[in-house]
Symmetry: D3
Subunit: 285 residues, 6 copies
Amino acid sequence: MDFNIVLLQKVIKDSLNEDIGTGDLTTNSIVPANAISTGYIVAKEDGVLAGLPVAYEVFRCLDPIINWQPLSKEGGSVSKGKLLAEISGKTRAILTGERVALNFLQRMSGIATVTAKYVQFTGDSKTRIVDTRKTTPGMRMLEKYAVRVGGGYNHRFGLYDAVLIKDNHIKYAGSIKNAVAAARQIVSHPTKIEVEVENLDQLRQALAVQADIIMLDNMSVELMREAANLVNGRAMLEASGGITVDKIKAIAEIGIDVISIGSLTHSVKALDISLDLQETKTLLC
Amino acid sequence: MDFNIVLLQKVIKDSLNEDIGTGDLTTNSIVPANAISTGYIVAKEDGVLAGLPVAYEVFRCLDPIINWQPLSKEGGSVSKGKLLAEISGKTRAILTGERVALNFLQRMSGIATVTAKYVQFTGDSKTRIVDTRKTTPGMRMLEKYAVRVGGGYNHRFGLYDAVLIKDNHIKYAGSIKNAVAAARQIVSHPTKIEVEVENLDQLRQALAVQADIIMLDNMSVELMREAANLVNGRAMLEASGGITVDKIKAIAEIGIDVISIGSLTHSVKALDISLDLQETKTLLC
Amino acid sequence: MDFNIVLLQKVIKDSLNEDIGTGDLTTNSIVPANAISTGYIVAKEDGVLAGLPVAYEVFRCLDPIINWQPLSKEGGSVSKGKLLAEISGKTRAILTGERVALNFLQRMSGIATVTAKYVQFTGDSKTRIVDTRKTTPGMRMLEKYAVRVGGGYNHRFGLYDAVLIKDNHIKYAGSIKNAVAAARQIVSHPTKIEVEVENLDQLRQALAVQADIIMLDNMSVELMREAANLVNGRAMLEASGGITVDKIKAIAEIGIDVISIGSLTHSVKALDISLDLQETKTLLC
Amino acid sequence: MDFNIVLLQKVIKDSLNEDIGTGDLTTNSIVPANAISTGYIVAKEDGVLAGLPVAYEVFRCLDPIINWQPLSKEGGSVSKGKLLAEISGKTRAILTGERVALNFLQRMSGIATVTAKYVQFTGDSKTRIVDTRKTTPGMRMLEKYAVRVGGGYNHRFGLYDAVLIKDNHIKYAGSIKNAVAAARQIVSHPTKIEVEVENLDQLRQALAVQADIIMLDNMSVELMREAANLVNGRAMLEASGGITVDKIKAIAEIGIDVISIGSLTHSVKALDISLDLQETKTLLC
Amino acid sequence: MDFNIVLLQKVIKDSLNEDIGTGDLTTNSIVPANAISTGYIVAKEDGVLAGLPVAYEVFRCLDPIINWQPLSKEGGSVSKGKLLAEISGKTRAILTGERVALNFLQRMSGIATVTAKYVQFTGDSKTRIVDTRKTTPGMRMLEKYAVRVGGGYNHRFGLYDAVLIKDNHIKYAGSIKNAVAAARQIVSHPTKIEVEVENLDQLRQALAVQADIIMLDNMSVELMREAANLVNGRAMLEASGGITVDKIKAIAEIGIDVISIGSLTHSVKALDISLDLQETKTLLC
Amino acid sequence: MDFNIVLLQKVIKDSLNEDIGTGDLTTNSIVPANAISTGYIVAKEDGVLAGLPVAYEVFRCLDPIINWQPLSKEGGSVSKGKLLAEISGKTRAILTGERVALNFLQRMSGIATVTAKYVQFTGDSKTRIVDTRKTTPGMRMLEKYAVRVGGGYNHRFGLYDAVLIKDNHIKYAGSIKNAVAAARQIVSHPTKIEVEVENLDQLRQALAVQADIIMLDNMSVELMREAANLVNGRAMLEASGGITVDKIKAIAEIGIDVISIGSLTHSVKALDISLDLQETKTLLC
């Protein structure tokens, strides 16, 4: 499941304009317009690669006939020194697009890398690692794509594609029952209703009104086990809040359906990746 | 030094549209349009606060007459439990804007917090901690603002406001001399020329052509000391690459002018911040 | 459940620019900039009112302090001659905004009116009348809002918020089983999977792979009854294709969950509504 | 007379983003990125075809090298079952673009079809069927193009390209004379002045000030005949309001120059058109 | 006849972003956010004032509650030293908006000033001075408004609001007759057809096909007189090409209807205008 | 040093939409869609050519495979009658794009021409002719590029890429010393600080605080000589205000580093350039 290419092109143009502004002073003064070169995108540390098609679109936006050869697989594990892609075309396009392409690639690969690490701990269970709406403004489509590339799954994309009744909504509505009733009256038939609960009492209330999904907020592993027993398959269960690598295995064994982790996207450690220009150069006549 | 409010409003509108899409299913089904509430933005861990005016603009975009009372100081240290701001107005605006406001606030405060930590290690020296262009696409203005809020300084904002001759440019030009000559012939008089060097030989070349700033790329502290002695004030010096907290103090003591750290913005750990709605509510007649 | 006000403002600005272009030649030559007037929006035929808040935003965009008094209720039935709203403020804003405001209002009220007619035929059944993606490009948020105002419900908003496997997808996948398996492997946990079927054989296949929703495409009432018996509550059922007013009652009695009707939005008959300016006028000093 | 391709591309990108959002969940999970297919666009009822070049641009936006073969003529009559175009290229582009392409095509063909029906009734007369500004927000360029494709003509495109003095303007100005005088003083020399009149008295006033065009608002055929005799060629005449198919022939015989019909665009019945994917498929290596 | 305020706001935001970028380094470092000041906009040379409402909108965009007092009349003659407007509000908004506001004001006043000069030479004749499409990209609405403010009139606004058949079109069509016939068959009834002619032979052809307006391209005053006699009121006449101040009076006396002058907008001499900040300042508490 | 192609494409699309609007009435009615032609861009007066790549992009935007052959060199001197470029492709693209392409080309060549004239007077000196921020809103990138093409240099591009402390800032800060201190505390290390001074006293203050650049505002040649002697290389010097061709030589001899001239961009005289379509034409089958 990829993404919307039309939207991607808009995001890329905005990003290039943010970085290039009125022009790349350095490149344009040193490199003539008709120079062509070859460069390599190289991993500088181990991780999971995500964003290669995005990087290509960045360069293609600056030189529509640039030549791009992927040398590693999107979603694959790469180790330090691995060549990720070969690019040849206008030297100016390569050097001017370098930073924006790497900014996408490093961030997305960082997300895929940490997602893959969490996913590994779910073992053979059916438990999914999913993201949240705690994404960087403007980057949601790509950050959620990177989670998928890393082996994770997506939670809802925004306020528009699922109902998630959280503490503040319950406070306003007065009770879980009221809140779910209000939502049910209106939401469309392909949309599920999820309720966030903080204890078993709330859990019982959510069950009583037949919530499709129940989010167990900041519960201990023990409490989650009790919750899972209590629910016994009558609703999908989501663990959320304070998830650490150590807890994942235990949670997966309980049979929780999804574990949502905000830090997948809100606290990304970029994967180190660079672009090396080859020394040979040619001038188009 | 703040930022461009006109540009900020565009960034915020795009971010709200990204999250709200065709409408906030949950809030709009539970909360009537004429409900008003009060809420508090609260720190859930210790750190340096950045982004409060941005959060306000997010809510103001959804309810132009919303009431906003900052309860902590932008750039100040906040500890877990500290109230950061009080907000009262349309309940829908508060709940619908919550996630986007927090996404800005958490990320910006995360940047300010880590910047402040690095700055502390520069002690009484004149050495500045600065950012790089390794920012999240679309967020550069705000991420660089957060660095300033945390006590750091900004490097150039993009390819358009300074010349920075890096390894790939030097490769293309054949030598530092060629590259600087080409740049000098063209760049505007208020623009400085910076050259990235990897060893003392390159450093001497950069000095010979009177680079305004010389970036010492990935050098050991010892090599940087030698470099500083060699330069002896004839150019501004920037340390870059592989900077760790431990190294900062040593580098500052050598008298390096600026230390640039990509991870300030490319590997942000969000500061945990939440919004709590008060239970009381009122309906506008 | 209303909509996204930030997105609405963008849609309105684009629409005003489409109509006003470089300026309203007629109004600007006849009416001085400081003239103020009062006008009334009036129904010219019977129907269900939808779009009043949108009309207000149109005028507010041209005169931020314009005075607007709704005189009829959004979603209420109005009869010919009924005053819908009173507007006072800059005469130029009223006359220049008139056509765009009415174009929204007439179209949205037309949608609400026909939706209400269909809804009436579902009687006391739990059957919902829902829309489709056959909306006018650029108008989806508002057209789907108008369906809700008319008492209907929304199907998915786009390709992004639900899985709907149609004939062309099944053709490509080779079988319903393959298609559902592929979708299930990837879609997020709050997203339902719907399958379009053309006969009972396909229906059984969809049931076998536990589709959440099954769309009965272009089936006779008799066939739908058989289908409903066969499914017996194991999936949600949607009737689609060739729906006429006469059929609705019969379909509702079978216990089909939703009836989707493309013509609600693709073949709208605008409700006749006009704006009458009062003759008195005042000039601001 | 076609339209502005640059503007069209913007409209199409906005429409695709409206429908695709963050990505086509169904297609992307079922169809691999390198699959290619052939499909046919097919008329499901009789009518006049309009919008074929628009549909092509939709698909081209998703796959720039898609292959498109028109099989029917823009503006031609098509009957149920007729193949309108053949399309081959990336399967994902075909399936993801299908609905948006059809939404344009069905609406535009609906407009062309009803326009052609009205035009037929004008027989051999010089009377033109024209549209109004009662178009769907955002779709004016394309809806007015569809009217031309159906054999009709366009009235003004917006408030910016002609003066049309209506009842509300006359009310404000105090008299037709005042209003026309004000307009004449300012409008540019290539711009005509049109006045809306409701009776013969107003008609005489409009003639007295030499209006270029006089719109006979909601008059009976008899009154229009009187008006035409009275004017006797001294101004162009437009019939407007309450136009039915039956009246057209009678109005045309009187010698009225143009008949403007809002329902051509405000109350469109979409022409039924679908896209059928061929079963064979190929994977690009 | 003013302009479209919605479009103006977009133009202004784009212009402010062009100048401010990521932030006004100078002002933001020197002036605190809560400082308020008063400033005056002052004419530094004699001319005709145009653009005052535009300048106000620039500042209002940066400080919505800024106080603005016009001290001179839009379209009035101002002499060196004349105060044009008083502005009080946030000092930052005044200093950051200064250059953009003045860039609009100086350019627009320059256009109004030269237009007024040309208009003066038309004396009591009915001859109009009009502009062309030779405007600065992005500035057409405002440049054409400035022409009107200076006492001139507008020619068509773009390719979309009038037919103007020029030499290249005639070359393609083979003859004026062909070209006019093609245009007439399609253009809407409120749209006039203008033909550019280079000699009396072409003039006769244009008359024969009843062009509404005939543009006499680069003709001598003598030839224009012959043309006017020949036409004798059967078409509107436009003089174009090589118009100098000296020729205007002669052309006006012949009875030519409009004189179009490209240099009104393509070769503008900005009127010198500056902004002076008062020394007193206040800090908001 | 060229410019940002991504930004250029946005500027061009906006400009084409401004001129074409809903469609080119004249061309589209006379020229069939499949006609192809050849045309020549021709200088109608002597000057320096700038903007040829921009003109090409205009036509390419309307016909992506249009054929373009530059016949003169960007930045070269051209004389009346010189062919600048040959263009062949869709006749409609050539005729519809003509005016926008020429509007860019004429304005940019006008800027390059006058810049070259000023540059000539600097003789063998190292003095640079530079532009200012007095550019046409929306055109800054291209106007500043045209200055470079004419042999001049650029001053800062906006408020974001250099500090320039002007009279109003000094007034607010109370003294040059205060203002510079405030700026120095914040601006980034690659950014220079410039101070505008009106007399020698202020000059000494600016020197005392080690301003990087000092702008001598509206000084006589004699005073500038004194200033240069006083500064004696300790700061870069800029002459600004009331610069005339006669003064340039004298200023250059003093050794002033840069002379900034607002009229290069605020008072442009367009270079006369036209497009001639060849008479032969071909229809694509």
